[in-house]
């Protein structure tokens, strides 16, 4: 991971190996691994996938808010909009969810987490030993939410995070999710196999963002490419241009050999070609040039 950091990659996204029927290749659950990585790196952004079926919104909001404090503002949550067919069965929902229910539930879940993240104002903590006022009660906001799937009083019992709120990445979007994503996401991962399709998705998302009163460039679009395809500088550059994306997420299998090749050969090569550049910013939002608090 330090090599990836040294090559000035902006972030790593740790996927969460959930039961796919095959034996696991990673001994670590994504958020626990992220915490460990946060203490042995100091610049790279750290994003973990976590599913809305495997967690409760209050618990997950605390986990990521803590991770953002631990990493000094380098954390993001990658939420998928597509359900893993086996997951519900391991989380006491043997009957599963219809795709439509899953999506409505995921959106409600994500909105709760985002609201919990900003429940404490930045300057809520006073730390005033003499007067005995630890925080300002007027700057702590419960959410008192009752929805279709969840009911959460709040506020979070973790302080406001250094980035205001950890980054929200959305992935596996369908057309039906575009409105939601264009309003909520800081980063969208586009899984479209071909550049023209990625470009269409990109344009549509930016267009919707503008309609929602948001700076369309404040959502970063990343297209996904497989590191095994031996991409070089020129092909990645062409991919970005053709797809209209802001960058590329390279997928690497968590095998030592694949990772070594990626971090010791591919990344330095991309850096030599000027495709990865160092950013002075401390937080992941700074690095990606995102607003501190980018949601309408």
């Amino acid at each position: 991971m330090r090599k990836v950091e040294a090559a000035d990659a902006d972030m790593v996204i740790i996927s969460d190996s959930l039961p796919s029927g095959e034996p696991s290749i990673s001994p670590f659950e994504a958020t626990t691994l992220l915490a460990a990585l946060a203490t042995v790196t100091d610049r790279i952004g750290l994003v973990a996938s976590a599913s809305t079926l495997a967690h409760q919104p209050y618990n997950l909001a605390r986990r990521f808010a803590s991770l953002d404090i631990i990493s000094h503002g380098r954390t993001g949550w990658n939420a998928t909009m597509r359900q893993n067919p086996r997951e519900a069965a391991n989380f006491s929902r043997p009957e599963g969810f219809s795709d439509d229910d899953f999506r409505r539930r995921a959106k409600e879940f994500i909105d709760i987490v985002r609201t919990l993240w900003v429940g404490w104002e930045h300057d809520a903590l006073l730390f005033d030993k003499a007067s005995g006022r630890f925080h300002d009660p007027d700057k702590m906001h419960p959410m008192d939410f009752t929805g279709e799937f969840f009911s959460v009083r709040g506020p979070l019992n973790v302080a406001r995070s250094p980035q205001d709120s950890p980054l929200l990445l959305l992935s596996d979007l369908e057309q039906a999710d575009f409105d939601f994503a264009s309003r909520r996401a800081d980063v969208v991962l586009l899984n479209e196999p071909k550049p023209p399709e990625a470009k269409a998705a990109c344009d549509k998302l930016r267009h919707r963002a503008r309609e929602a009163g948001r700076d369309p460039l404040s959502i970063k679009m990343l297209t996904v490419a497989d590191a095994r395809q031996e991409p070089d500088g020129a092909s990645l550059e062409a991919l970005c241009l053709a797809s209209g994306c802001d960058g590329v997420v390279l997928t690497v299998q968590p095998h030592p050999a694949a990772f070594e090749d990626f971090s010791e050969r591919l990344l330095p090569q991309l850096k030599r070609h000027g495709l990865i550049e160092a950013h002075p910013g401390k937080t992941l939002r700074d690095r990606l040039e995102l607003d501190k608090d980018g949601w309408p």
Binding site: S26, P27, E29, I70, S92, L125, F134, T146, R153, N157
Partner: protein, 418 residues
Amino acid sequence: MTPRQMKLGLFLWATGHHIAAWRHSDAHVRAGIDIDHHVKLARTAEAAKFDMVFCEDAAGLREANVQIASQTSRSIGFEPISLLSVLAVQTERIGLVSTASTSYNEPYGLARAFASLDNLSGGRAGWNLVTSASPIEAANFGATGLRPHADRYARAREFATVITGLWNRRAAGHDGESFSVRDPLDVPPSPQGAPVMVQAGASDDGKDLAARTADVVFSAAQTFEEAKAFYDDLKGRLAAYGRQPDDVKIMPGVAPIVAATRAEAQAKYDALQELIPDEVGVALLSSYLSISDLWRYPIDGPLPELPEGEGMKSRQALVIEQARRDGLSIRQLARYFAGARGHWRLVGTASQIADELQARFEGGAADGFNVMPSWFPGELDAFATLVVPELQRRGLFRTDYEGRTLREHLGLKRPIRN
């Protein structure tokens, strides 16, 4: 054979266990947002050869009244599994135990998180199973309020069965009252096989579940008699589950204040007591008594008659018993309780504190202690540099780790794999 030695856990609580700890002039007031502070505390405990650090947890604020909450430091802190993941890579030997609720988690998810922590730490993880007694937490997980004590324990029993099954690689597939799980766990086992199971429930249901599943039991007791009764009761329940008395380590909480002389220690304690606002003390006491309007009663009068609550039944009983025994007013009781939430309080020199610990340990009322420094880092440093060496001189505590995993520190068997 080496003589029996006591086990020591460090009970972390950002600024300290005394309710006014954060106001102490040398306390680290930003503890709840400072990860390096926690790393330092864990390393101090590791250098002193503690068996484990222990993180408490609640998925919600501690206090419903916002004015009172704002006069305490307890509304913010780290989520403990992320905190322990950091400690896993920043320490080498010490055990890492975190609380997590059976009421607001699913066994498959928690099994993965703790198995992962166990792998990250090379076999040093433990899970403190709680059933979560606070209505404030309940409101973050649905609209129906705190579920009855018996229901929470029924869910906890099933949770424990499923999670140990997942960790021990027993055949997958569970379809029960509260949970269903189809697949085996997708995280490989760690060097200690499965995380250590810790429990702290002291009601009848709680003790029974502990006797069946726990490797370590935390408890709260004031007097030797209370501690001994709890110890004998719990150990007595083990045979019914085919277990030996030594299979479970019982570790009552102890909140020491130590100094070179008793007078100096007493002065340190008195100074902390001065920092407690009355309303904060009364609010803390009421939350453990499962009563919302204790402030209505005259503060210098006796504790009123109270119905048995649905929260922490055992702690309620302990407080009521103490109030009666010592004839304490609400104010006196609240102030005493604010120091250590009903745990055993010791104020004295290192040798006086070691005497007391030795008496409970050798008297068959404890296998070790869960140490609750009044404020951090000062009282932990004092315990580590004054009391630990005294215990070591007496041969009551290790001078170096015997093994690598938490199970090895505690002298526990590896879990049985079917």
